[in-house]
Amino acid sequence: MSNNKSNNTSRRDFLKIAGATGAVSAFAVSGCAMGPSGTGPRVVVVGGGFGGSTAARYIKKFGPDFRVTLIEPGRNYVTCPFSNAYLGGIVDLNTITHGYGGLAKAGVHVVHDLVTGLDGANKTITLSSGKTVEYDRLIVSPGIDFKWDLGYDEAASLLAPHAYKAGSQTVLLKKQLEAMDDGGTVIIAPPGNPFRCPPGPYERASMIAYYLKHHKPRSKVLILDRKDKFSKQGAFMEGWKRRYGSLIEWVPAKDVGNITSVDAGARTISTEMDTHKAGVLNFIPNQKAGKVAHVMGLTNGCDWCPVDQITFESSVVPGVHVIGDAAVVKGMPKSGNAANSQAKVCAWAVVQLLSGASEVEPAVTSNTCYSLVSDDYGIHVSVIWKGTPEGYEKTSGGVAPANQSDDFRKQEAKYAHGWYANITHDIWG
């Protein structure tokens, strides 16, 4: 509910024009020549990543006459999933970059702008262009932001990339890997819990090892963790041994000690006990909800956004739903597939509620996550959940079983590519 000067100006302009013309659409007010198609309720979605783009598409699917607007500043979206495969040289940047043409074709009105404020009482948001947009229900999918700490900030990330929002950071990390001398050490410092994509840093270690094995075989990967265990740990460690021998070394938090500082220029990480010098330093900061969630007042002063577990409606601002990494969803990991699933459940709930339903039935939903250990070695974790008012209860699932044949792992690697092709087609295709 931030109200800066430009918000007030926009609101004033809105009231002036709306008063003169009566019931007009928000986009007529804001001066856009084009608005969303349809005559039904207006749903505005903020954020064009896995959660937001899915929500926009599935509102149109479940309620074809709904007027759906997606607000996203970027013209393209580079996915974190498979960005590690890009680091390994297995896919190119084009494969993991998606535009919004498919959503526009599906009837979603895509607006490239940045949200600067929310007026929950009047159900409007303001944009950096000065426009005001009205909604009947708002879905926000803010993604993550970083908690800059230990001397590591945005400027430092240009020297030692976190690469945990995909795009220019990912490209920078790959260039640094390519420039590193053979025999260098790549240090990955994964974040503390909770964070986006729990297997992500460990798949990254795998894909960097894959690159090093083929191009710089005297080099190694050192993981200095802020945790004592990690996602798919047994499956990763089995895969590392089978494909890379001792190339990857993982050090748990209890042996690393407290990290006291990060020097991005010198590429060093210091602990209470030691200073580690890297050839390439990939420090991944601790995380919180994306900036727009804080700007819109959806975090209640905390790091993440509390929501109703069945409809994903914000516990802070009624009529606003929060999905994806930024939302507190008990039982689910912060993953792209979980965001996609939450978006579908939320889209269904929003269509029900705007069609007159007083309550929404809990959903049965899922998360499928593949990680690549090598080009021919994939491992999955998959979970089915049933929703309850308290969170999501697992009804089945688990990590790929241990000690499987090379053929099994190869099949899983192929299915990882299949998953990527289909989920991105589901969202942006």
């Binding site: 459940v345 269904w348 069609s355 007159g356 039935e361 089945s396 092709a421």
Partner: protein, 107 residues
């Protein structure tokens, strides 16, 4: 914890006409949600829109209702081997599997 959905405005009725509103008879304890469109949306992330895969994962759009239900039931019981489906299928009740199959095969 089962709650009831009350449908209001009718102009979306066609898109909402799914098995979800057939009630929750199910197959015993925890029959749960039988919303075919929403349940089947879990499948498309690997098998593609309409069951037509864009990649290496198998397309399932050519399976008829009997074939698809048999496979899912076998994955659930453990009679059929696979990489990932043996971990997914047991998460659904028999009634939910049927709702998924009805949605994906257009029944």
């Amino acid at each position: 914890m089962k709650r009831t959905i009350l449908l209001g405005a009718v102009f979306f009725a066609a898109s909402l006409a799914t098995p979800a509103f057939a009630g929750g008879s199910g197959d015993g304890a925890g029959a749960g949600n039988l919303n075919g469109a929403l349940l089947a949306s879990n499948c498309v992330v690997c098998h593609g829109q309409g069951g037509h895969s864009q990649g290496y994962t198998p397309s399932i759009d050519k399976l008829d209702k009997f074939q698809m239900l048999t496979r899912l039931t076998e994955f659930k019981s453990g009679a059929r081997k696979g990489t990932i489906m043996p971990r997914i299928a047991p998460g659904y009740t028999d009634a939910q599997l049927e709702a998924i199959v009805n949605e994906l095969t257009g029944n």
